[in-house]
Amino acid sequence: MPTIFIDGQELQVNDGENILEACLNAGLDLPYFCWHPAMGSIGSCRQCALVQYQNEDDTRGRIIMGCMTPVTEGARFSLKAENATEFREAVVESLMLNHPHDCPVCAEGGECHLQDMTVMVGHRDRRYSGKKNTHRNQYLGPLIHHEMNRCITCYRCERYYKDYAGGTDLGAQASHDHLYFGRHEEGVLESEFSGNLVEVCPTGVFTDKPFLKQYSRKWDLQSAPSICNGCAVGCNIAPGERYGKLKRVHNRYNHEVNGYFLCDRGRFGSGYVNSDARLDYAGIKQADGSYMAVHQQQALETAASWMQGKKVAGIGSPRASVEANYLLRELVGAEHFAAGFSEAEAPLMASVRRILQTTQAMIPSIKQIEAADAVLVLGEDITHTAPRVALALRQSVRNKSFELAEQMGLPQWQDAAVRNLAQDQRSPLIIVSAMETRLDDIASQCISLAPDQIAEFAVSIVEALAGEPSSNKQANQIAEILQSAKNPLIISGTSMVHWGIVNAAVAIAESLCTEPSGCMLSLCIPEANSLGVALLADKSSPSLPDLVNSPPEVLLVVENDLQRRLNPQQMEQLMSAGTLVISMDMLENATLGASDMVLPAASYAESQGSLVNMEGRAQRYFPVFEPAAERLPSWQWLLKLAALTNHKSLSKIEHFDQVVAACAKSQAEFTNLVDAAPDQSFRDRGLKIPRQTHRYSGRTAMNAGVNVHEPQQPHDHESPLAFSMEGLNRDQPAALTPYVWSPGWNSNQSLQKFQAEVDGPLKGGTAGVKLLQSSASGATQKASCEAVEMQAHHWQLVPVHQVHGSDELSVNTDEIAEMAGMGFVSLGAAVAHKLGVSEGDGVVLASGGTEVSLEVRILQRVAKNCIGFGLGYAETLYLRAGSLATLAVDAQWQRPQPQLIASDKATPDPIVAEGGSAHV
């Protein structure tokens, strides 16, 4: 550990870091713009200037950029020297020449990194007398708003979007002080990770468009630590509320999971929380099919009376919390508790559970995935099935370049230099899939095979690894690549609903575990708590078809739209008149519509619970605000039902923490659940953690339109968080960090004040806890599955997952619905040609008795005999993976007009960056 001196202060610093990092680690306030902990240095903004002295006698020194200067033993610097402070102020002053002076009305105001740095350097008075340069803004789609005049040209957006996230449609244009960051033409940003621009941009050039429509200042938002329920990755989020509306979602740093970034589903997909389709009151179905609204207590009493002495079964949900599912299981008994998976999914999830519990392979965190130096992906389009993992894979392929850089003594944070050195040399990423994936651009090999063949191919790799080279040369070669890797990773998952693929993936990982390198294995699973609920189901648990075949007298459905799991006949049979169905959920859906009683459930933003992500990590989310109307969190509905039905064990339980404790005791896998977050009794220096900022304004006025008497703040009896601004917001446990702010650092860059060191874990640790540990025994699976038999003129249906479209909840957000478009079929160019259709035409797809008209999307890479269907769309609800289909041109088809639901596109104004080419 080298020692350096900053203004005479002796600092022990980390080997290989730069001076900016060293300063931030030492808690010194050195302003910066272009540097980003996840993206390294390029030295463009020149804001992080210090003076470096040759030796003790050197009194003049020279200006250096902290972010571009590696620490060296004995080096001497000054942050406070006058030439350094003057220089830093001059940088801000010149950045301000063209900057609008509209902080009070700017969407970034109050959380603007530029604003913070301007104050920090002490710049106040403008000396420039010229006119400001102005730019035209671009329409970038429904998610991101563009305001180019605020740009300070730090290049962060371009570097994030292109270099980090692999986007191709946003970047720098023009030059000198006409620099422009935008698209070639106006249009929707293509990247599934575009939303991070909002947080990456240090000013308000890229802002959250849905948020602008219901804007509040950062300091006016009430936030709670939360977990995204968009998929099984479990990114940590910080949703913000005001006036009872969920306003926006920001990233919440978790060193091991999402780091600094979210996908767009996670950031923008919570609009449903504010939806008009939310259920407000309990209702009991009348003879005429309408619902009579009833109060909570009445509904509960009725439900209890229905259940009294009856055969009651429960259907849980892979999107509901562990606690809600656990309570349901206890309430109805394990032998009457269905996890709520579809018929095809259930055995898959059961085997994933078994695999994760028994495999010798390491189940990696996202951070660990970034460290892989050879990756094999089997069957997944990860960008759509576990988006944040795809972003990590984009970093993993860079390990080759870091290796080259290391040989040259070049530190990793020298970002541009490392990229120039490596050019397109990447660590191997091999993708074997039925169709093109969004990671094809960085893959070293893409192999297109139908699902059955993927499994077969993977088995050939297993054989090659076992020293029996197969006749498949490609498989042998991949085996070699994996064997020679230092840190190989196998990724597969359930998205093809194909057990053979998962099984063979595990077999590959297991064989690699016999090598010194070991192997990482990552399995993508469908929903936010798929694993949690799979852990709760046991052998006695019925499947959905079991329940369909012998319906119970009373059925309790918790947060599950069965239409997505059953076919219409099964649905009809299950919900038939003979069974009394009680369902709790958030949004109107087919299941609620067929139930005898409906109970309004709180959304994730209004309740607390734990989710178990794809790596077996349990993470806790907390209510951001109190549920409105008569909504209740599912766990509370269930607990109240248990009390009213005098349940033997549950009726003694009142509080959330007791539910967690009971669940932890009920089964070994959940032992650690209590450690997912501190319990209700936690106090930080005697105080609860405040959800509101110290500057939370207008609290007394917010309700004045309704009642001039300020209502009492709600009390939170269930969590260590308070609906209050009183309390400390500093270094609290990671799981209890609702937002980041630090004096002088109003923007999200204040995160560095919460990190133990730059890019490291938080001072409050890392939120969440792993429930499952790798075992030494090894997961042995018997590898057999039925192959799909092809027929002439038929295609095999392959599900195509979409970040925007496939997820049940997020599509109830206008902006996401606009991004999702309508149900589609994906065809290879050859098939399209044969049918005589092109992109945007319509076809009639017939499969298993269903016939649907779908829009055609044409792909570059598709396995033989396969066609894809957009998963999760209303039109495709009853199509099943692996079944056979026929296609015919839809003569009635009308090309869908682009429908603008959520966006504010006004005139199609082709943007020309000011001064486009310099002279013309």
């Binding site: 292109k162 191709t168 449609d169 946003l170 970047g171 720098a172 244009q173 023009a174 030059s175 422009y180 698209r183 070639h184 033409e185 249009g187 293509e190 050019q423 397109d424 093109e436 092109s838 992109e839 945007g840 999307r857 044409i858 570059q860 082709p910 020309v912 960056a913 486009g916 080419s917 310099a918 002279h919 013309v920």
Partner: protein, 172 residues
């Protein structure tokens, strides 16, 4: 590949066979296709005077680049024109030696004669006037290029002779 890119593919290439052949010749000696980006822009511009959006997209497709990436390159350089220009571009040197030797006055004379300012094109589409950094002929200042020709020691009379026949007035 994105949806918008796929739709574009259907239009077919906007580049001529000759242009493609010329670009391919450049591609032969670069390790990455994008390495020929500037050459390709210049090839197309030499043919058509400027680079339209369509051409830019066509080149990008041919080089496996995104249109945005190529736009970033095209707009960086002074000599790639992203808007139409006249038949001949006048690159008028306004740098230091020419300035000392009175180029401001000559520029006014040209503007007056042709009726155009910097960045404008005559209404008969024959000339576009652009400033250019030092042309490296300072010993013969003031200088300019008219199309491919270097014109040195410019004075009012030469301006008159060169441009008197051109139609006055700027075109959009």
């Amino acid at each position: 590949m994105s949806k918008s890119e796929m739709i574009q593919t259907d239009i077919g290439s906007v580049l001529t066979a000759e242009e493609i052949a010329e670009i391919d010749a450049e591609l032969a000696h670069v390790p990455y296709k994008s390495g020929a980006a500037i050459d390709a822009l210049k090839i197309v511009q030499a043919n058509r005077g400027w680079v339209s959006d369509q051409c830019l997209q066509g080149i990008a497709r041919h080089l496996d680049m995104s249109a945005e990436e190529l736009e970033g390159v095209a707009t960086f350089y002074n000599l790639i024109y992203r808007r139409p220009v006249g038949e001949k571009v006048i690159l008028f040197c306004d740098s230091v030696s020419c300035w000392i030797n009175g180029c401001d006055d000559i520029k006014d004379k040209i503007s007056q004669t042709l009726g155009i300012d910097y960045g404008e094109t005559t209404s008969d589409n024959s000339y576009t006037l652009l400033p250019v950094p030092c042309l490296g002929a300072c010993d013969r200042a003031p200088v300019m290029m008219v199309g491919d020709d270097l014109v040195t020691h410019i004075d009012h009379e030469m301006v008159q002779q060169l441009f008197a026949s051109a139609e006055q007035g700027s075109a959009e």
